[in-house]
């Protein structure tokens, strides 16, 4: 059911892990649907993504799209990373079964969520980027956000 590329990225995922003191972290999806993706970005002062890592709870397609998305944004500028769409991720993986297309959307959202976090931390605006809609902690207590 999966392409060879999907299987390759699922079995040998690139950039799995965490980045300590990351420039931006984004987590999207929810356990109810069975997919959670978290992306860590290390962005230098010139706005280039030096390193990227991910962790994913999900099906084979979710892992593969996370892996491919990290490959596609690594070494890119923030603006270039914005152009990594779910379509681009899917094409790079030689397609996904129809029921798994949402996984590639999740990968795009995870990148955007991490970029949003980076922009918030640095008080900058990224063209075309708005607040991510999926937040797995929605409705949960967030100890860090005390106003």
């Amino acid at each position: 059911m999966y392409s060879e590329k999907v299987m390759d990225h699922f079995q040998n995922p690139r950039n799995v892990g965490e980045i300590e003191n990351a420039s931006g972290v984004g987590t999207v999806g929810n356990a109810k649907c069975g997919d959670i993706m978290r992306i860590y970005l290390d962005i230098d002062e010139t706005g280039v993504i030096r390193d990227v890592k991910f962790k994913t709870f999900g099906c084979g397609a979710a892992v593969a799209t996370s892996s491919m998305a990290t490959e596609l944004v690594k070494g890119k500028t923030v603006q270039e990373a914005m152009e990594v769409t779910n379509k681009a991720v899917m094409e790079a993986l030689d397609g996904l079964p129809p029921v798994k297309v949402h996984c590639s959307l999740l990968a795009e959202e995870a990148i955007h969520a991490a970029l949003w976090d980076y922009a918030q931390k640095n008080g900058i605006q990224i063209e075309g980027l708005s607040k991510p809609k999926s937040d797995i902690h929605e409705g949960e207590e967030d100890e860090e956000e005390e106003y």
Binding site: F10, V16, G34, I36, R38, K55, T56, G58, C59, V63
Partner: protein, 397 residues
Amino acid sequence: MDRQIYLDNAATTKVSETVLEAMLPYFSEYYGNPSSIYRLGAKSKEAVTKSREILAETLGAKENEIYFTGGGSEADNWAIKAAAEAYASKGKHIITSKIEHHAVLHTCQYLEKKGYEVTYLDVDERGIVKLEELKKAIRPDTILISIMFANNEIGTIQPIPQIGRIAREHGILFHTDAVQAYGQIPIQVDDCCIDMLSASGHKLYGPKGVGFLYIRKGVKIRSFVHGGAQERKRRAGTENVPGIVGLGAAAQEAAATMEERAKRETALRDYLIERMQKEIPYTRLNGDASLRLPNNANFSFQFIEGESLLIMLDMEGICGSSGSACTSGSLDPSHVLLAIGLPHEIAHGSLRLTLGKDTTREELDYTVEKTKQIVERLRSMSPLYEDFVKKSGQNRE
């Protein structure tokens, strides 16, 4: 392919050699139509009759109470739709459970659209129907109770004799989907007050595409397929003779070996469950520890997702399933695991392993080792596990 360990016998089984041998002559040697008058046809008819007798005997039923079908799902559809239609003048209320196979659940949902009312009984955390709730759900217009004999995902065996008695006392028809139980554990229709029972050939080392519906004599069930005199005019169509022969041979073999198989598989199953629970942290067994089919083990591994686990197990040559095979094409977690109260994320991380007559302890050892490695690997990639580890770290500080 290198090594293959087949632990999905609840999905389907390998046709046994005895069964295959019994079937083969009926493809190109004795190929006559059982309805034909000449001897070649009579030979086929004889074989069909013999199978019917075998099946009847295994259930303590009469031969004219066995109706061949194209499998378990058809038998479920037939029993429920036909009973609903035949008893509509008495009422339009049906009682079933939340953990039935989709062949029952979707049929009930179809009937709801046709103006019937259906009560879907809750189950307890082990997956067992609560008898008190069943009694409370009964109404004057209840015409059918349909509760599965044993669950296909978590293997839980239902209190069928008690349910049958409750149905009988209230004069309500009782159907049981015994697709997983038939051939695995003893079933006597009279002891359990069963009026209708569905079973399938390919779960007991028989062929796919053939099953049967037991209908107690006197139950007013109409024809399901019109167009011929086969199956006492209730299910027309030239009989699947090789399939029926195979089903009969499989049932005979299953009955003869049941005790010994159940003993062996139960021991292996308990060994598997014990090792998995002991050696893999944050693992739970779904279903009841002892009121379960001899060959069924169903686990939830916290923080990981089932499909990833299945693909990685497949890479190691291990065939398992997550929920039922029919569910794995969809994105929703198993309705059975949700019904026993598992949260979504834990239901997503389930693994069903169902043993067979050829399963060895060595195969299970290999499976435990591989599962251990894969679960560890998937957890190392899981943001849920990361959060959990950080949280428990904080709690310790």
